[in-house]
């Protein structure tokens, strides 16, 4: 038992909480001290306290990581999130698989940002850091794990509790020092490289919404109503980039790992981060405007506050368990709902109170806004963005609405829309069109003093867009009206921004961020439209008999039942299921389960023939090598016009501890389209199959015969000295037949054994050819006629149910994402430089 390390971790948590509070208080005192000397000493106090807080957070992180890395399974966190066999890089993922770890990650990033702020923002330090330290104190309280004596009220959930404190297993009564030999393991869906970098990116994005909020509060507090924008803007831009990147990484992970057939599902969890990001983007645009004049100052302040409140709200939604029946994600309620609500209400109320108090003093521009001004277009865009967010926020909050009605004694049975994807898409699509049109046009107003006469400068880009549009739709065959409009707006957005990019690059390349980012958005819209709107189910069919007449005969089925080595033709593809495979541990590739024999170590196997993968020899027969036993990869071959279009290996993990059956797709990436397939259902090998009526044949050596319609030949019959698994004594005679059966792609061999024990007892060991579903028994030997009696029977062949999709032009989406990020980078670099001056 390693008690010390857990106690140390717990101590660090307490220190981090206390230090954050001390720091907030000291900054407060520093701010309100009039005496120079006390002011200075409070500042020193505050800084030391924040540094201590930072060190304590680092301490918590190191302790938790040590517990995971060194497999201290006496700790609940290590036991429930990791295991001995887990590859090193995924140890990092264990860290944030639990809620406590993700709070910690969030806290860690904010501590880092806080320290950067202390060193860069001398003028704003005290008020900004008061907000920072308070937020940190709230987060630290989430992982405190202290029960207030007498009240039975728990504050926070500690990552350092021992297994015996978390579980009521009877073993702990008899043996309190019991330590499990191995941990529960990391959810296999999270054993993916994206899960190593997606959570840190996302939480850095979360953390980056705090500096703008803190500056905004400081601005209101100090009555520097417009000055806060300049230092806040670079943070907001970086935040927009990182949060967006984090969200997209999550989408990419879902596309690669989950099997819902896409990258975005409009699940409440996704919506909960999408909405703040959309509003953050609106905030960035309005803030850029406000930097030069007082127009939109109030809007900037409101938006920045709203973004932060939305981040808190999204934390509340996803961690309080309130989404319960509404989401496919299962959230564990750590009993922090009250605390999370307090966190949300505290900062919302504080910000609103301060805003209300200062509202009248905030300068605003009384002049009428002109349609030809850049302000008008920015506001229009920001308004659309906000409505876009609102449209998603509202249905996502239905469970909250139900809860509120319940609290007031009512009853509400409202449920989120039944088909989320369809529901959200039909609205978001039109908002996206609006955004594209406004931001394409806004570029003309941003850079020029526009007037009625100059409007004709819009003509050229519009014409070019129309020509490009005609090319795109005739090549890609887009006919649906809504998609046509979306495509046209996307192209217009790209064309108008390319025009400005080319002129800005000549003028001053540092100003090109906006144009680049908007080109990225245009590409993303087009990529989204194609990959989602024209995603087609390759395995679509209406074959077979539906389970009930009620369903009608014309019922589309998205899934396909494939028997091994029997191709089916669907949507221009021949789809064939070839084999079950395991992943090689030391080489990149797969090995067929039929080609290997197990050893005592589940991670090591012996080859029973030369192992080929993609035509390359990986191992020779009789070699012992390592594999990963947990995952089964189903080899699915897809051919188009006789040529192999893709060989895919979708994954299944049967893992009773993780809820049974976990499926991940495999994707064949082509330049113009992805082919995506995942397994929906597999054969249960634990169930005894039903065998057909056995058939008897008498054959001579070399004679051809049929087994279940396959051509077979008895090649040889030999006496053998050794049989695996059977103890042979001197008087025993063992005979092994070798029967060659011609499969669809390759021959298979069955080697049944005939055994005479003590000259009297006869034993027969049948041999099964797994791929063909046949079993052969050597029943008798007739020395007079030189014939052998074989008994053959057959079962249903191995099968798998799969779903396959085609996603056209999805690479345009990823390309757009990359371009957007570059744009953000350029813009942020410019604002940081500007701030430094």
């Amino acid at each position: 038992m390693h008690y010390l390390i857990g106690n140390l971790g717990h101590l660090f948590v307490i220190v981090s909480l206390v230090a954050a509070l001390v720091s907030a208080f000291s900054y407060w005192k520093n701010f309100y001290s009039t005496n120079d000397l006390t002011k200075k000493s409070w500042l020193v106090n505050a800084r030391i306290a924040f540094y201590m807080h930072g060190l304590a957070v680092l301490g918590i992180v190191s302790v938790l990581f040590t517990i995971i890395y060194r497999h201290y399974f006496e700790y609940h966190y290590a036991y429930s999130h990791s295991s001995l066999h887990l590859p090193g890089q995924y140890m990092v993922s264990c860290f944030w698989e639990g809620q406590e770890g993700s709070f910690l990650l969030w806290m860690f990033w904010q501590a880092v940002l806080g320290i950067i702020l202390i060193h860069t923002q001398r003028n704003w330090e005290a008020p900004v850091m008061v907000v920072f330290a308070l937020v940190q104190a709230f987060l630290a309280s989430m992982i405190l794990g202290i029960v207030i004596p007498g009240l039975d009220f728990k504050i926070g959930s500690s990552p350092f509790i021992l297994l015996r404190e978390a579980m009521n297993d009877p073993i702990f009564k008899t043996n309190p020092d019991f330590i499990p030999a191995d941990g529960h393991g990391l959810n296999p869906l999270l054993q993916n490289y994206w899960m190593v970098i997606h959570p840190p990116t996302l939480f850095l994005g979360f953390a980056l919404t705090l500096p703008p909020f803190a500056f905004c509060i400081a601005g209101l507090w100090l009555k520097k109503y417009s000055e806060w924008i300049k230092p806040a803007l670079p943070w907001t831009l970086v935040g927009g980039a990182i949060l967006g990147l984090g969200i997209l990484m999550g989408g990419y992970w879902a596309y690669e790992t989950l099997s819902f057939g896409g990258y975005w599902n409009w699940d409440p969890v996704e919506n909960a981060v999408y909405v703040p990001w959309i509003v953050l983007i609106a905030a960035i645009h309005v803030m850029m405007l406000t930097k030069t004049n007082s127009k939109g100052l109030k809007t900037s302040i409101i938006l920045v506050i709203v973004v932060f409140v939305l981040i808190l709200y999204s934390t509340f939604l996803t961690r309080s368990g309130i989404l319960g029946d509404a989401s496919v994600h299962s959230f564990t309620d750590l009993g922090l709902s009250g605390q999370l609500l307090l966190y949300l209400i505290f900062f919302t109320a504080m910000a609103l109170a301060l805003l209300a108090k200062r509202w009248k003093e905030i300068p605003s521009d009384p002049n009428e806004i002109s349609v030809y001004s850049r302000e008008f277009w920015i506001f229009l865009g920001a308004t659309i963005l906000c409505l876009m967010g609102f449209q998603v926020l509202l249905p996502t909050s239905i469970p909250v609405y139900n809860k509120i009605v319940e609290v007031f004694g009512g009853h509400s049975n409202l449920a989120p829309p039944a088909n989320q994807v369809e529901f959200y898409s039909k609205f978001q699509l039109w908002f996206a069109v609006g955004i594209a049109l406004v931001s394409a046009t806004a570029q003309f107003f941003w850079w020029n003093r526009m007037s009625k006469e100059k409007l004709k400068s819009l003509l050229a880009p519009l014409l070019i867009s129309l020509i490009l549009f005609a090319v795109v739709i005739s090549v890609a065959k887009v006919y649906q009206p809504t998609y046509l409009i979306l495509t046209l707006s996307g192209i217009y957005l790209i064309v108008s921004n390319i025009k400005f990019l080319s002129s800005v690059l000549k003028l001053n390349p540092t100003l090109s961020g906006g144009a680049i980012a908007h080109i990225g958005v245009g590409l993303m819209l087009i990529g989204l439209m194609f990959s989602s709107g024209y995603s087609s189910v390759v395995s679509l069919n209406n074959n077979g008999i539906p389970i009930s007449k009620e369903m009608g005969t014309e019922f589309n089925r998205d899934n396909l039942l494939l028997f091994i080595n029997e191709p089916k033709t669907m949507a221009g593809y021949d789809i064939e299921y070839r084999s079950e495979n395991l992943e090689l541990r030391n080489k990149k590739g797969y090995v067929r389960k039929n080609d290997i024999e197990p050893t005592n170590d589940p991670f090591r196997v012996v080859a029973n023939k030369d192992i080929l993968y993609q035509g390359k020899k990986m191992y020779s027969a009789k070699d012992t090598f390592e594999i990963y036993p947990e995952n089964t990869f189903y080899e699915i071959e897809m051919r188009k016009n006789g040529k192999i279009a893709a060989t895919l290996y979708p994954r299944i993990q049967i893992n009773p501890q993780m809820g049974g059956f976990l499926a991940s797709p495999d994707i064949k990436r082509n330049l113009d389209r992805d082919i995506y397939t995942h397994v929906s259902l597999t054969l249960n090998r634990e169930e005894e199959p039903t065998w057909s009526k056995p058939e008897e044949v008498n054959v001579k050596i070399g004679q051809r015969f049929f087994i279940n319609d396959y051509v077979a030949v008895l090649e040889e019959v030999n006496r053998v000295e050794k049989i695996e698994g059977v103890e042979l004594t001197d008087g025993d005679i063992a005979v092994k037949a070798r029967i060659r059966v011609e499969g669809e792609h390759e021959p298979f061999y069955a080697e049944p054994v005939f055994l005479i024990h003590n000259n009297s007892e006869v034993g027969r060991i049948p041999d099964e050819i797994n791929d063909l579903g046949v079993r052969i028994l050597l029943a008798n030997i007739h020395p007079q006629t030189a014939e052998f009696t074989l008994i053959c029977d057959a079962r249903q062949k191995d099968w798998v149910v799969i779903k396959a999709l085609e996603k056209p032009y999805i690479n345009v989406l990823w390309l757009g994402t990359g371009v957007l990020m570059i744009g953000f980078g350029v813009a942020a670099a410019r604002r940081i430089q500007e701030f430094r001056k």
Binding site: M167, H184, S330, L394, L414, P417, M551, L681, V801
Partner: protein
């Protein structure tokens, strides 16, 4: 009137429009009797029913049927009012289906059959798993 006000009115109108559209598209949680009533009234909106799988005294799921080609299946769901209903789902059986504690079906009645278009499963979370593999570290 100032343009700002016109814009404000448009925004408010749009927001109200979104609220109405959401309310119109929102589904409801009902039991099977209510769902049946809705279908009789000719409302074809999809609704949510929360229930549990029908089990015998030994805890085995009963009333399960899979089509020959394994691509669809039907099961008996018991709603909160203990009403049993045969539910048809035109997808392969989700592999962890039998282990789920609670099943939310989204769909509606067609004649006397409940056709589910989507199934949400609430499986016992791995965190609630209180069983340990008992062989301690040497």
């Amino acid at each position: 009137m100032k343009r700002t006000y016109i814009l404000a009115i448009v925004v408010i109108a749009a927001a109200i429009g979104i609220i109405i559209a959401t309310a119109g598209d929102a589904s409801t949680y009902v039991n099977f009797d209510q769902a049946h009533q809705l279908a009789l009234e000719g409302k074809s909106t999809q609704i949510h029913v929360v229930g549990q799988l029908k089990k015998d005294t030994a805890g085995h799921v009963v009333g399960l049927q899979t089509s020959d080609d394994k691509l669809s299946f039907s099961f008996v769901l018991v709603d909160d009012n203990q009403k049993e209903q045969n539910v048809i789902y035109n997808e392969p059986m989700p592999p962890d289906f039998l282990k789920s504690e609670k099943v939310v079906v989204i769909g509606g009645y067609q004649n006397d059959q409940f056709i589910a278009h989507k199934i949400l499963l609430k499986c016992p979370s791995k965190y609630q798993n209180n069983t340990l593999t008992v062989n301690s570290k040497p």
